[in-house]
């Protein structure tokens, strides 16, 4: 197919603005999917994605389209994740495109991720087509949304398409706009192969399936594929496209998007940003590497049963085949034994990894309270990076501690400004700018990352009745007055429950933590004392009283089965308990630290 008939594009949007619905419409309209067989939102194929209504791993699909000019076009839709944790993955997809549909919800207007995605698309030099969605809603404000597109994004509001992805209204015009407004891909099919890896996943039968965008030349089975960053050569076994199922094709040529397999064993061997070329005729210039995914949030993952350590390692290895943003290294905890310190893009990423480990690998896990990476400058003048609060050097050796700050954008209706400023103050936010956009405001703050990784977003949503949106980017490390808060159970410190907090918040945090732990630690055969301490100074104390009795009713009429089942049910609950010394602590205890 001639390059002039190919269009490579992405859809970007704030969460819930209708990206997946539009993608489904495009699939149905171009016949890439039989509408009768349509499962809602086919592109979100991971169970977890569907349950949470978000896209985590991107997917790619080829849409055959006969345009109104009578010509056949191939439209390659590269789907992108829609959550703030995954903006890095969005950038990878965008680099493989020439254009993007920027969806804005007509009832919500421009939101924080609209803006963030817009910038990513600009950076990637994409042709941007603004699309105003949900025009069928009674509360749709098309004119207001147009104004925001002009004022906030600086785009020509006259170019915005008006659609209802849900009803299909205006969707044919979207296809036409893709053809006419997005440039065809450049590139010479006769040149030396130059292909960009923009994602990959691990398939147990075929090894790593690499998503590629071909920029020059062509690739077919049997070719020796050269990975330019490490010089390794693999024989290409299969090339194909996504229809959305994987469908082998003869070859992929410049301008096209598809996949290849080459017996690559680990995702890490064909990293995102890698350039694939022909070992017999290598391209002169590789792509500059993408920026690596940088974990921002760290937590310890421990098996509830010590014997499951190896299984956990294997499971993490497997997940990493598919998730290049996940990092992990072994660590030990006095309380929890052997486990791993894992790095995540954000809290959602962490929850997803945890759920997949539990669901897909059947592991019972304890996740310690998440931490950001702190920079400790010692009295000896050295700089140490700390991702685990229990690794903090003794106070005497610390000159000062620096913590990561982010610059963030909040969009919200003006009436919620006051509570938002109060929340920001509570979270040690520093106000940077305020911009009025009609009835809405765009506020920027600098926040310590540690303050926003846990419950910030939930609280922001709740104080703004769901109307505020939020996005952030790493800014810099700044000195902060941080202290380590320890939790002791019956006098023994539980390293896995330690947290690093700002001194001004330590007392309150210690009190909340102790209270939460009292609520989740079940009563045991003996009294359990819970203490929160900074150094040797106890700042809060709670007690879980001992159980006095638990004799259940008579084993009536020999119904032993019923009795056994009741006990089995209780035992099921115990499975999620971790023995710390003599104290049984449920997994929720570690979670409660996380959520407080």
């Amino acid at each position: 197919m001639a390059l002039s008939r190919i269009r490579n594009f992405s859809i970007v949007a704030h969460i819930d603005h209708g990206k997946s619905t539009l993608a489904d419409r495009l699939l149905a309209l171009t016949g890439a999917m039989d509408p009768k067989k349509a499962v809602d939102q086919v592109l979100d194929s991971m169970d977890l994605e569907r349950e949470r209504g978000i896209t985590i791993k991107q997917h790619t699909v080829r849409l055959p389209y006969r345009a109104q000019d009578g010509q056949e076009y191939t439209l390659n839709l590269i789907d992108t994740p829609g959550h703030v944790d995954f903006s890095y993955e969005v950038s990878r997809s965008l680099a493989a495109c020439e254009g993007a549909l920027l969806i804005v919800d007509a009832a919500q207007g421009v939101e924080a991720q609209t803006l963030a995605n817009f910038y990513l698309a600009l950076e990637a030099n994409l042709a941007i087509i603004p699309v105003i969605n949900k025009i069928d809603l009674p509360q749709a404000d098309v004119e207001g949304t147009r104004r925001q597109i002009a004022e906030v994004l600086g785009l020509d509001p006259g170019e915005a398409l008006l659609i209802s992805a849900k009803l299909g209204t205006g969707v044919p015009e979207v296809l036409e706009a893709i053809v006419h407004r997005i440039p065809p891909p450049p590139g010479d099919p006769a040149g030396p192969l130059k292909a960009l890896v923009f994602d990959s996943f691990y398939d147990p039968y075929q090894g790593v399936v690499v998503y590629v965008r071909i920029f020059e030349g062509r690739v077919r089975a049997g070719m020796p594929a050269l990975l330019m960053s490490n010089g390794r050569v693999y024989e290409v076994q299969q090339v194909g496209v996504f229809t959305p199922e994987m469908k082998p094709v003869e070859e992929l040529a410049a301008g096209q998007v598809g996949y290849l397999t080459a017996g690559i064993k680990r995702v890490a061997d064909a990293k995102v940003g890698e350039t694939i070329s022909d070992a017999n005729r290598p391209t002169a210039r590789a792509f500059p590497g993408y920026r690596d995914a940088k974990p921002m949030v760290f937590a310890g993952l421990y098996p509830v049963e010590d014997t499951a350590y190896q299984s956990l390692r294997d499971a993490l290895d497997k997940l990493r085949l598919n998730d290049s943003a996940l990092t992990f290294e072994p660590e030990t905890s006095l309380a929890l034994g052997y486990g791993f310190r894992c790095g995540f893009l954000g809290l959602l990423h962490m929850e997803i990894v945890q759920e997949r480990l539990e669901r897909e690998f059947g592991l019972a896990l304890i996740v310690t309270s998440p931490s950001v990476r702190y920079r400790v400058i010692t009295t000896a003048g050295e700089t140490v990076e700390i991702e685990n609060p229990s690794k903090l050097p003794p106070t005497g050796q610390i000159d000062h501690i620096e913590e990561p700050f982010v610059r963030s954008s909040v969009f919200a209706p003006t009436e919620f400004m006051n509570p938002i400023y109060r929340l920001a103050q509570d979270k040690r936010g520093e106000h940077r700018s305020l911009e009025y956009l009609g009835k809405r405001v765009h506020i920027t703050f600098d926040f310590p990352l540690s303050e926003i990784i846990v419950d910030f977003y939930d609280r922001l949503k709740s104080i703004s009745k769901g109307y505020a949106s939020f996005d952030y980017d790493f800014l810099e490390f700044r000195p902060s007055d941080m202290v380590k808060l320890d939790i002791l159970l019956n006098g023994d410190p539980v390293d896995a429950l330690s947290v690093i907090v700002h001194r001004d918040k330590a007392y309150e945090k210690g009190k909340t933590l102790a209270e939460k732990l009292r609520a989740v630690i079940p009563r045991q055969m003996f009294e359990v004392a819970i203490q929160a301490a900074i150094g040797s100074r106890v700042i809060a104390r709670e007690t879980v009283k001992a159980i006095r009795k638990n004799v259940t009713a008579k084993c009536y009429g020999g119904d032993i089965t019923r009795k056994r089942k009741l006990l089995e049910k209780q035992k099921e609950g115990k499975k999620r308990m971790k023995q710390l010394g003599k104290v049984e602590v449920p997994q929720e205890a570690f979670l409660s630290v996380l959520k407080s």
């Binding site: 055969m525 003996f526 159980i547 006095r548 009795k549 638990n550 004799v551 259940t552 009713a553 008579k554 084993c555 009536y556 009429g557 020999g558 119904d559 032993i560 089965t561 056994r564 006990l567 089995e568 209780q570 035992k571 115990k574 003599k582």
Partner: protein, 376 residues
């Protein structure tokens, strides 16, 4: 068609018969029982005899001795002595009922007269279990019992004068509005009657009971219920009763043989709706609705509802868990895999190791579920 399972050994079996009727349902009761109607009782009795016949067709039936028989309910004392005798006769006809078998009938005080007790004794009953529950008339009313404390006393005397020399009394504590003093006075008085056996259960709100459904006010706190347990343990000990099972006390030589069949994980047959049996490695239960139970038997079918084949591990766990309910405890060797647990519990005074046996202390009885969960 008879039972597909057979006993694993030639030891005597227990027999449980369920009489699923009551004149009135008690507020705390979740058992399988419905309102008493003479016609329903007649139909049920025919079905019960049919069930004994069907199970009695098993090839082993005539050879295996029956060591204990227990009529539970419901209210078995709604049976008149003739009806009870018919049932026992049918058991004797089909099975090798041991002449020395312990035969117990649960009785409600209001339905036990001297004549009835005597009739039961002549039919072959040698043990009565009397549902006294409390000697506090206030509480008896709230519980939905039909008898007063005076009726309970009269029923006990009726049993005695009818020549029944093995009487057990059922009591309940942890009742709404019951403080430690009220409980102690019930216990003292009952002990003064010198029954051979005493069962005392702390109230639990089980699913299916009225109180579990509607809720109930005035339940004593855990401290009170614990104090009630200890008060009973102390008073019973002072009166010469052995605390031989978590909830059971007996004078020397009068422990319940039938209940020990359960606690020693021995085998037993079950008759009546919802009754549960244990043969070989199978625990089974009959269908619960009386109507369905009767219809099935009228069609010549056994009224089996559920069964489960125990794995060797489940059997072993059951033996330990049930055995530890008894003050005898279990051989220490059975707890080989739970050494550290045994040590922890011993250090907390909840468990004792003596020679090659391991037993719960009275403090351990009180927390036994916490231990059992670990032993599953």
């Amino acid at each position: 068609m008879t039972l597909a399972w057979s006993p694993s050994r030639r030891a005597p079996l227990g027999v449980y018969l369920h009489i699923p009727f009551c004149r009135q349902r008690c507020a705390y009761c979740s058992f399988n029982t419905g309102p008493y109607r003479p016609a329903a009782m007649d139909r049920f009795l025919s079905a019960l005899l049919e069930e004994i016949d069907l199970v009695g067709e098993a090839v082993w039936a005539g050879d295996v001795a029956i060591g204990t028989v227990f009529f539970g309910g419901g209210t078995p004392s709604l049976l008149d002595p003739i009806e009870l005798e018919t049932i026992l006769d049918r058991l004797r006809k089909r099975f090798a009922l041991d002449p020395g078998a312990e035969v117990t009938v649960e009785c409600n005080p209001e339905s036990l007269t001297r004549a009835k007790a005597e009739g039961y004794r002549l039919a072959g009953v040698n043990r009565l279990s009397l549902g006294v529950q409390s000697l506090d008339d206030d509480l008896l009313g709230r519980l939905g019992r039909l008898h007063s404390s005076g009726d309970a006393r009269k029923a006990f005397e009726a049993a005695r004068s009818a020549g029944v020399d093995n009487v057990s009394l059922d009591l309940m504590y942890g009742l709404p509005g019951q403080d430690v003093a009220r409980w102690e006075s019930t216990v003292r008085e009952v002990l003064a009657w010198r029954p051979e056996h005493l069962s005392a259960y702390a109230l639990t709100l089980d699913e299916g009971s009225r109180w579990a459904g509607e809720g109930v006010a005035g339940l004593p706190d855990e401290e009170t219920v614990t104090a009630q347990y200890w008060a009973l343990a102390r008073l019973a000990r002072e009166a010469g009763y052995e605390h031989y099972e978590i909830s059971n006390y007996a004078r020397r030589g009068f422990t319940s043989r039938h209940n020990q069949v359960y606690w020693r994980a021995e085998e037993y047959l079950a008759f009546g709706p919802g009754a549960c049996g244990f043969l070989g490695d199978v625990r089974y239960g009959n269908v619960k609705p009386v109507e369905r139970y009767c219809t099935m038997l009228e069609a010549g079918r056994l009224p089996l509802g559920t069964h489960e084949v125990l794995t060797p591990a489940q059997r072993k766990a059951e033996k330990v868990i049930l055995g530890l309910r008894l003050s005898d405890g279990v051989p220490l060797a059975w707890l080989e895999d739970a050494r550290s647990l045994v040590e922890t519990w011993a250090s907390l005074g909840l468990l004792q190791v003596a020679g090659d046996r391991c037993r719960l202390t009275e403090a351990g009885f009180l927390l036994s579920d916490s231990l059992f969960v670990h032993l599953l």
